[in-house]
């Protein structure tokens, strides 16, 4: 029987990770659609989503069926831990000002500019030629964008789903996020730069790290007090760690150089 706390954390982690990655993918798809034509961009995105779905089934189902649970949990836990710690590190550096925030507007503008330069013969000066039929460049760019961003989601879905034997639920949470981002993206018809990406990334990093530590310990025979109830406790611990580290890292920002300081 699965505990409610681990199910909630599983769904939130997969949904959050998928939302962040799909917002990044949407930026590329919208850029391809606007500058090269929507038909091929949407076909490329849909093809990548299908390939990612097939990957979940082809890799995930045998893992759940044939690998011993303890071994699976150690491997999956280690994978989630690497992923979670690196997401958290990046999120802390961004929140504390040591790293620039992810700028969807800049990525969008760069992608549109790049695509507009490709095959603009016959177009009005300064404007991309928007294709009414099929466009190979739009298809490939949208496919690559969704596939590359989605690979991380697939790994998270397979890892979390397989370790808890809840692959279907994890895939469903990812699909819900994909649908939400796609619908919102279509409605507003632009990249979602207002999405608080770093906040979501921080939350997902905390959940992945907590799950990672939990599964590594569980697989290796660590006796977690309260069993699955240790997961929310670990989440609480890593929230405190993240808040503390972010505040601490703000004190480590270098002083602005004299030429950067405003004149008094």
């Amino acid at each position: 029987m699965h505990s409610t706390s681990s199910t909630i954390v599983l769904v939130l982690a997969v949904f959050g990770a998928s939302t962040v990655e799909m917002v990044e993918a949407l930026t590329i798809v919208v850029a391809a659609g606007v500058s090269r034509g929507w038909r091929s961009a949407l076909e490329g995105a849909a093809a990548a989503a299908v390939v990612l779905g097939v990957l979940v089934v082809v890799v995930g189902v045998p893992l759940v069926r044939y690998i011993p649970l303890d071994a699976l949990r150690v491997v999956v836990g280690a994978l989630l831990l690497v992923l979670g710690l690196s997401w958290l590190r990046k999120a802390i550096l961004r929140a504390s000002g040591h790293k620039d925030l992810h700028d969807e507007d800049k990525i969008y503008a760069d992608t549109v500019a790049e695509l507009s330069e490709t095959g603009t013969e016959g177009a009005a000066p300064g404007r991309a030629r928007v294709h009414s039929g099929r466009d190979g460049v739009a298809f490939v760019v949208a496919f690559k964008g969704v596939f590359l961003e989605g690979t991380e989601v697939v790994l998270i879905v397979i890892s979390l789903g397989a370790a808890q034997h809840r692959l279907g639920l994890a895939a469903l949470a990812a699909a819900a996020a994909l649908l939400l981002v796609a619908v919102v993206g279509l409605v507003v018809s632009r990249q979602l730069s207002e999405v608080p990406e770093n906040a979501i990334k921080t939350a997902v990093g905390i959940m992945l790290t907590s799950f990672g530590i939990f599964w590594v310990g569980e697989g290796a025979g660590v006796n977690w007090p309260g069993s699955d109830l240790a997961i929310p406790v670990l989440v609480g611990f890593f929230i405190a760690v993240t808040v503390g580290y972010t505040a601490f890292m703000r004190t480590k920002l270098p002083a602005p150089s004299p030429e950067e300081s405003p004149a008094t």
């Binding site: 790293k99 990672g212 240790a230």
Partner: protein, 74 residues
Amino acid sequence: MTELLARGVKAFGKFWWDFLVGDTPELALATGIIVALAFLLDGDRLVGAILLPLLAAAFLLASTLRGRRRAPGR
């Protein structure tokens, strides 16, 4: 055919290397140490429940400090 296979294996290896190690090898090392410690602490299981999260937090701080923005010329 062999060349195509070799290229595929290389790309697969590069993907995993970038994914797991990338520019933060210390986090991959941290994970290895945490996994090893989890098995070594087999005889003292409750200590593991306290030690493993603390170790992860310590490595996270070290890695975050390594990635901080530094003053020019330092």
